[in-house]
């Protein structure tokens, strides 16, 4: 009889001890590998193109990421990210792929801006709006855009009182040589030139 109770106590004790040990382990792991910030916002923000243009109706990419994470905004409001970006967001969040909302703007080829330097009056207005500090210059001095840093957000264009900021195509480093995608039919019917009506 006693022996039976002994076993019983022993089993209970070992269970409690194990639970305690694992509990402590979990506590330690959760402390040690704590993720800073809201991980989903960071993941969304990593997909957004960081142009910081505000076309999504939020004052930058991160606020838009926060809005998406909070379920306040649909995923199709970022024109610079384009359809590819929407696809990636849909994959991450496991939601349906949407068409880019035309109210936010259209996907355009990469561009940056340039200041027509003789026309610049040195008002510093563009510096104040540039979200990535891509413009250098001082009061009453000519200003210049660091092309490599400019995201092409266009925020500086309306800020300029003398309209001396113009869009130019974004320069690409020499080893990058973008090629068009070759075309290939998907179905035998397409390939054989069957009129769609017959299918």
């Amino acid at each position: 009889m006693m022996a039976w109770i002994d076993h019983w106590v022993l089993a209970l004790l070992s269970m409690v001890l194990l639970a305690l040990a694992f509990g402590l382990l979990i506590l330690w792991v959760s402390k040690k590998f704590k993720v800073e910030g809201n991980p989903i916002v960071e993941q969304i923000n990593a997909i957004l193109p960081q142009t910081q243009c505000g076309q999504c109706n939020y004052p930058g990419c991160k606020p838009y990421a926060q809005a998406i994470a909070a379920g306040e905004a649909p995923i199709n409001q970022c024109p610079p990210g384009g359809q590819e970006g929407i696809k990636k967001l849909a994959e991450l969040l496991d939601v349906e792929v949407l068409e880019l909302n035309p109210e936010n703007g259209a996907e355009e080829a990469d561009q940056v801006v340039e200041i027509v330097e003789p026309d610049c009056i040195g008002c510093t207005k563009c510096i104040q709006v540039c979200p990535v500090d891509a413009i250098v210059g001082a009061a009453k001095q000519m200003h210049t855009v660091i092309l490599d840093e400019c995201t092409g957000c266009d925020l500086c264009i309306p800020a300029c009182p003398v309209d001396c900021i113009i869009k130019i195509p974004a320069p690409l480093p020499a080893p990058i040589n973008r090629k068009p995608k070759p075309s290939l039919m998907h179905t035998v019917r397409e390939a054989q030139g069957f009129p769609e009506a017959l299918s």
Binding site: D133, I176, N177, R178, L184
Partner: protein
């Protein structure tokens, strides 16, 4: 390494060689064309900066362009003459891409830049590497990678083995074979210089087993130079003629059984590979003090009446070479640089050859493959069987062009699209006539572009975050200042003191004014 211990690479094709016609006769100098059009960029797009101006007179061997970055190379004037233009022109690279070219009109004198009389051979590995770099030598097998860079990394590691690649596996091209027949000693001497540069002593010259005579020539040269006595171990090994056995990773697999891991260079497994023409160029640079200003090029194809190998100056326009080889311009349908498998079609014949241009292939209409519209992939798996890189071509095609929902270039990357050597074996066998290589070229270029964009976005994010933090800090500082002030003024005594101080200042200023007026 021994003949019967060779390995095999996966897949590959047995193709008809079409080399005999051009390789029968010894090579000839191509002479001076009317103009030389020298593209000053490497095949990977690294540019050099011209150091001459329009109207300058240049001497043969004079530097005309210096590298802009570490992967660019030096360019020399191939002959003496006048610089008549420095402008963007189409070049002998994929899609005849535009690049800056220096155009030289030869004066016919061919006068060398004066060089020191006494030849001083380099003594140390560093000196050899410096001379190779100064001679503007690049990999002449096609990659165009600056040769000296491969040797900088070898300075600390254990001695590597050098593989001299004479396995010219593409049909039609015979410039390396002809070079080995005509200049075996120069190649062997160049190889020895490369060994010294790598501080190594073992080299293998690999040739294809269908070119028997070459082995005898090379063996004789090795024997004549008494290299064994000097502690060098050079051997000539015949490898089976299977396309693309001349590919870097394929040849290494065949010779050593080693598979170079994805994304790494042969140096990671203790090997350096160099083309035979590069070895010859090294010999020229060091023993003849002649920078890389000419190369052997095969002019062949069914539209050419007398196919042949020419030693042509860099920048010689295709037109000049085609005329030399009696091209039937009426019949000419397609002009290709490189071989039929990996070559690129050229839009016209006024483009100058580059350091990497090994063949000019002129084909009449009845020889070129009729352009059959591609049919859908039927997943027959033929492409998988021939891919020498052991990729899954049909799966890559699915990821790149499956259909719009399934297109995912990242998946193509995961399936090693960057390991594709664009050999064209898959396109060759595809029963649906799909130009598979075009899709892989597209995927590679697009992925590189997307990586660039991603890096830029990351940079923008950092700058944006820094700016936000700065604005936040400035705001906080302002607030703190204001708060300090309000705190000060809320104390009656302090406020009074402040008040009287301000009044005193005003009084002083008025006093000063009165003094001035007075």
């Amino acid at each position: 390494m021994n003949q019967d211990r060779l390995s095999h690479f996966h897949g590959g094709l047995v193709l008809r060689h079409h080399k005999k016609a051009s390789c029968e006769k010894p090579m000839l100098p191509a002479g001076l064309p009317e103009q030389l059009v020298i593209a000053i960029k490497s095949s990977r797009g690294h540019t050099s900066e011209p150091v001459v101006a329009i109207g300058d007179h240049v001497f043969k061997g004079q530097v005309i362009a210096e590298p802009e970055d570490s992967l660019g190379t030096v360019y020399h004037a191939p002959t003496s003459g006048l610089v008549v233009a420095i402008e963007e022109r189409q070049t002998a690279s994929a899609e005849a891409k535009q690049a800056v070219c220096v155009v030289i009109e030869p004066d016919g004198e061919d006068t060398w830049l004066t060089r020191p009389e006494k030849l001083k051979l380099p003594a140390s590995a560093q000196e050899i590497i410096a001379q190779i770099s100064a001679a503007g030598i690049v990999g002449m097998g096609g990659a165009g990678f600056p040769t000296h860079i491969k040797y900088h990394a070898t300075q600390t590691d254990t001695a590597p083995t050098l593989i001299i690649n004479g396995a010219e596996c593409e049909p039609y091209i015979s410039c390396d074979e002809r070079l080995m027949l005509d200049e075996p000693e120069a190649i062997v001497r160049g190889t020895v210089w490369l060994l010294k540069a790598a501080q190594a002593n073992r080299a293998i010259i690999a040739i294809e087993d269908n070119i028997g005579g070459v082995k005898k020539q090379l063996d004789a040269a090795i024997k004549k130079l008494e290299l064994v006595a000097q502690g060098f171990d050079l051997s000539v090994i015949k490898v089976p003629t299977i396309y693309p056995t001349g590919g870097e990773k394929q040849l290494i697999k065949v010779l050593t059984g080693i598979e170079v891991p994805s994304g790494l260079t042969p140096l990671s497994v203790g090997l350096i590979m160099q083309n035979v023409a590069t070895a010859k160029a090294v010999y020229d640079a060091i023993e003849l003090r002649k920078p890389l200003i000419s190369r052997v090029i095969t002019v062949t194809g069914d539209a050419i009446e007398s196919p042949r190998n020419y030693e042509a100056l860099i920048g010689t326009p295709f037109q000049h070479l085609l005329q030399l080889a009696a091209c039937d311009f009426q019949d000419l349908d397609k002009l290709i640089i490189g071989g039929p498998m990996m070559g690129y079609a050229m839009p016209h014949a006024d483009i100058g050859i580059e350091k990497t241009t090994n063949c000019l292939l002129a084909l009449p209409a009845d020889c070129t493959k009729p352009e059959i519209d591609a049919m859908p992939c039927i997943r027959c798996g033929d492409c998988v069987k021939v891919c020498p890189q052991e990729l899954l071509p049909q799966q890559l095609l699915w990821y790149i062009n499956g259909n719009d929902e399934h297109n995912d270039l990242e998946k193509a990357r995961e399936h090693h699209v960057f390991d594709c050597i664009e050999c064209g074996a898959c396109s060759w066998v595809c029963p649906s006539h799909i130009n598979l290589v075009d899709f892989y070229r597209f995927a590679k270029s697009e992925l590189t572009y997307l990586d660039h964009k991603k890096a830029k976005a990351q940079q923008a994010k950092i700058r944006h975050d820094e700016r936000e933090a700065r604005l936040e800090r400035i705001k906080a500082e302002r607030q703190a200042k204001r708060r300090r002030k309000t705190a000060k003024l809320s104390n009656k005594k302090d406020a009074k003191a402040e008040m009287s101080a301000v009044l005193a200042r005003i009084k002083q200023q008025e006093q000063a004014k009165v003094d001035d007026e007075g």
